[in-house]
Amino acid sequence: MNGPHDLGGQMGFGPIAPDPAEPKFHADWERRALGITLAAGTMGAWNIDESRHTRESLHPALYYNASYYEIWIRALEKLLERHGFVSADEIEAGHKVWKGVVPKRVLKAGDVAETLARGGPCDRAVLTAPKFKPGDRVRTINEHPTGHTRLPRYARGKTGVVEAWREGYVFPDTNAHGNGENPQHVYTVTFEGRELWGKKSDPALTVSIDAWESYLEHV
């Protein structure tokens, strides 16, 4: 979707203002927000793509005003509601009111290290041969789906070169919506700065994205 999250090339957000002494967490609630979000994710009710889509579906005014962990928590509340674990009136009340759905699993403290070390690999076998090979010139599709996609707006309808074939990865555009993993080949595609940003672009700039096969056409 063309949501507030799709930031590449937008302007006006001001300086980056890096702080070398920045603490890892600015407040204790950020620690809890990280922990709760990761733990709830291990219940297995939603995947990372649905989670990302829920965050990017927040209203733009909210998204741009929220700190990152605030975005996480607001999306987590929606995910918990959507999957029947927590209801809106419970969030309003601040305590349990209903029993709710029973999850497949609950992460225990003793399993944290192993669970985090395992992660969630998304490589899957793809039964078709790759359509593209390194060196191929390709054009990205120019489509504007209302659902989740990982093809950023600035890189749509652009011509680039396949630099590398990656493995088959779960396809986020369907996986985010409960429509299956449908793995596809993924390619690293490089674009010259001028192709993306016009003739005034830095001539020494190259930008790459990792593109699922259905995002690409032969030129």
Binding site: G8, Q10, M11, F13, I16, A17, P18, P20, A21, E22, P23, H26, A27, W29, R31, R32, L34, G35, I36, L38, A39, A40, R55, S67, Y68, E70, L76, L80, F85, V86, E90, H95, K96, P103, V106, L107, A109, D111, V112, A113, L116, G120, P121, C122, D123, P152, R166, Y169, V170, S201, D202, A204, L205, T206, V207, S208, I209, D210, A211, W212
Partner: protein, 226 residues
Amino acid sequence: MGHDHSHDHDHDNELDPFAARVRALETILTQKGLIDPAAIDAIVDTYEHKVGPRNGARVVARAWCDPKFADWLKRDATEAIASLGYTGRQGEHMQAVFNTEDTHNLIVCTLCSCYPWTVLGVPPTWYKAPAFRSQAVIDPRGVLAEFGLKLPEATRIRVWDSTAELRYMVVPARPAETDGLGEDELARLVTRDSMIGTGLPLRPGSLDPRALWPVAGAPDALEPKP
């Protein structure tokens, strides 16, 4: 909420309405048996104290010292990094990108904040914020200047937008005058920002606040101030 604590710190904690909201959510989830508060503590402890940019610094220093490891890292970063014990969430599929004399690499995720947690820890706020995510792909030279990094105009800038599940780390070039240094000493020169591409490694002998491996006895500048 009690208001009897000292007022020497920022009010970003007990009195913040959003802190109350997160606490309420944790309470509901705990009451329903959906989370184990001790598991939350363990997750936080992992990312606060165990996983961080020192992992990445170790990878870079090894690559500087051992050409075979560097070659493995180029060919299969996931396996090479896993051989040092760094595996897991947001590091399942890794690619190491090497700076050269004529190319400088910069990592961003314009769509969210994809970041190689297993080698760099949790991302800094600026990495997740709109200013960096918007600008990095259209004006990376301007971004680098904000970080105090001025590259020659002829240096090619290669930006990697992490749009899939591949997580990138930059392997900066080994600084000059480091011939006599061992792996531990070299690791001290590798900063987090140099592995994102917004910085370069420190010079030998530097006691920069960005140092990830301060020398014994020196205060750890990356720890929050009391």
